[in-house]
């Protein structure tokens, strides 16, 4: 590096640059948070959805699955599982969820296993409500197709 470019100059670029871009980042964050209601359909967050999110966290579902592409990559994406397995209706999806959660572990030799979390009907219903809500999020067109 050239001699005329001093350590002091480098330090000023570091301080000035990072403060400047951090302020821009904060401004964009404020704007983004303000815009979010247009896409997150928060008016549909019922108490059941809220309980569902807690169950999702409490059983560490994200440790195998992804949700909007984040999480683990061991088991299918679940943001849109409502669309994939629901057969187009809430009843269809809830029936699927009830059957699925209670059938675990499938115990097919060699197949990746999902644990049984011993959830009651109410809890499975709450999780289904949560996943129905996630399927209605506008994530800028992701996932590319129904398989997630």
């Amino acid at each position: 590096m050239s001699e005329s470019f001093t350590k002091g100059m480098a330090r000023n670029i570091y301080y000035g640059g990072s403060v400047f871009f951090f302020l821009i980042f904060l401004a964009l964050t404020f704007h983004t948070v303000k815009e979010m209601p247009k896409r997150d359909n928060r008016h549909n967050i019922t108490e059941a959805v809220e309980r569902g999110k807690h169950l999702w966290e409490k059983n560490n579902c994200i440790g195998c699955h992804s949700l909007i592409g984040e999480g683990a990559y061991f088991a299918p994406e679940l943001m849109n599982v409502y669309d994939r397995r629901g057969g187009g209706s809430e009843e269809g999806f809830k029936a699927f969820m009830n059957g699925w959660m209670n059938a675990q572990p499938l115990n097919i030799p060699g197949r990746r296993q999902m644990p049984n979390f011993h959830l009651n009907d109410q809890e499975i219903d709450d999780l289904a409500e949560f996943l129905k809500w996630t399927s209605e999020l506008d994530a800028n067109g992701w996932p590319p197709n129904i398989e997630g």
């Binding site: 896409r39 997150d40 966290e57 994200i62 996630t134």
Partner: protein, 463 residues
């Protein structure tokens, strides 16, 4: 046996040793998961995949934190030219952090996660069950307390001593680490907000403040092993971290493409994150440049190898593999695929695991009273460890990338109806996962070789 400039630097030793123990645990659980990828019911019911994954990733984060803390306790007093403010506090915090860490991991392994959530009163302040932030709320509070005590101790040391650029950058990075961790306590019901601010911990750590920590440690070790003028090295350090933050802060946008966010993030995220490889590239130039201009032949060849290796592998893992999937039109297809896993592995290993092993390699012979360097034989074994682990990680990354490309091809690119399902796709990727597991075993052998080097002493010298 006085090989330390300041006696209080000795508190770094338990931090480094404990970091290495946790590293072994991390790799063992990685291998369990790698096997579960292909033999789905391996350890079925005893250690479910999600439990193994928490153990693997949390051990990684915690051993890196132990490594950073050890590095700080080692280099801050020497840079400040004064003893550590309170060695006792450093030792007390070590035991608190170690106990909290062990209890948390045992909690993951011994009781179902939902039970752990109940007994740690998660419902009072729910923060659990999010990737990398699975720790019970009480553990998270413990981490904050340990960080505060740690920062206080270092801050007081720096205040009474010399304020070098390396110390100031290290301190800024560590404060940033603690500050951004506070977002782990924010877990709103609205998933859109939850996910947005989750990245304030994850991205602003690894592509923000941790780069300051890495830069400071690398600069310190380069000064020591090359003897190049501090002014030159510190100038480079500022240039590198300036580039890191200028690109990395707005680069956070590469995680906002597919959240409930405005379209401008597609542009902001793509442009700024595309610049993120630059500081990593600069680190390669700088590390090699400084070693070529060295003014002394430091006897610790292994430490120099680690320093150079860190720069190269961080550039490959973070820079090249990061760039691969960072533009929004590419990320649309690769998001959350095995490509992400490939990048995550090489970046974490290349940048952070390796920088911790760099400082350990440099500092351990002094901490153990051996001298400037280990005996030749120990260094050779250590370098075997370096090469085995590093080459194995290159292969892990290549196999996962192969799996990821095929996954995108089969599952993401075709239209709905034609695309293969997730599970059907996974079956087609089996060969890549087997190869990854084999490379993982080689990695473990490398780690064993690396650890063995600590037990090799020069018989002749002792006699």
């Amino acid at each position: 046996m006085d090989t330390l400039k300041y006696q209080s630097q000795a508190v770094a030793k338990p931090y480094f040793i404990f970091a290495m123990i946790l590293f072994v645990g991390q790799i063992l659980f990685g291998l369990i998961m790698g096997l579960q990828y292909v033999v789905g019911d391996f350890l079925g019911g005893i250690i479910p995949f999600n439990v193994a994954r928490m153990v693997h990733t949390n051990l990684l984060i915690v051993w890196l934190l132990f490594g950073f803390m050890g590095a700080a306790y080692y280099l801050v007093p020497e840079e400040a030219e004064t003893e550590l403010y309170s060695p006792q506090l450093a030792i007390i915090l070590f035991w608190i952090f170690a106990a909290a860490g062990v209890l948390t991991i045992l909690g993951y392994l011994l009781v179902p996660y939902s039970t752990l959530a109940d007994i740690t009163l998660n419902h009072l302040w729910p923060t659990m069950g999010r990737e990398f932030l699975e720790q019970p709320t009480i553990t998270k509070i413990g981490i904050v307390v340990v960080c505060l005590g740690f920062l206080f101790n270092l801050g007081m040391t720096i205040l009474k001593g010399r304020k070098t650029a390396i110390n100031m950058v290290m301190m800024t990075g560590l404060i940033g680490l603690a500050v951004f961790f506070l977002f782990a306590f924010y877990n709103p019901t609205n998933l859109a907000l939850d996910k947005y601010f989750w990245w304030f911990v994850v991205h602003l750590w690894v592509e923000g403040v941790w780069e300051l920590i890495m830069g400071a440690i690398l600069a310190y070790v380069l000064i020591k092993v090359t003897g190049v003028d501090r002014e030159v090295i510190e100038k480079w350090l500022y240039v590198i971290i300036a580039m890191a933050l200028i690109s990395g802060i707005l680069g956070t946008g590469h995680h906002f493409y597919w959240l409930m966010t405005p379209e401008y993030w597609q542009w902001v995220g793509s442009i700024f994150s595309a610049l993120e490889p630059l500081p990593f590239f600069a680190m390669v130039l700088y590390a090699f440049n400084m070693v070529n201009r060295r003014r002394r032949e430091h006897p610790n060849k292994a430490a120099t190898l680690w320093a150079l290796g860190t720069a190269v592998m961080a550039f490959l893992g973070a820079g090249v593999w990061g760039f691969l999937h960072t533009l929004s039109f590419v990320n649309y297809y690769t998001h959350g695929s095995q490509i992400t896993a490939a990048h995550g592995h090489m970046a974490f290993y290349g940048a952070y695991a390796m920088i911790v092993m760099t400082i350990i390699s440099y500092a351990m012979p002094k901490l153990r009273g051996i001298g400037e360097a280990n005996c030749n034989k120990a260094q050779v074994i250590e370098m075997w460890g370096f090469w085995l682990m590093t080459v194995a990680m290159v292969f892990i990354t290549l196999f996962l990338t192969g799996a990821g490309i095929l996954q995108v091809w089969l599952q993401r690119l075709p239209e709905s109806g034609e695309a293969l399902s997730f599970m059907a796709t996974q079956d087609k990727l089996e060969i890549f996962y087997w190869l990854r597991e084999i490379a993982g075993v080689i990695f473990l052998l490398g780690l064993i070789s690396y650890l063995t080097s600590f037990f090799i002493t020069d018989k002749k010298a002792q006699a």
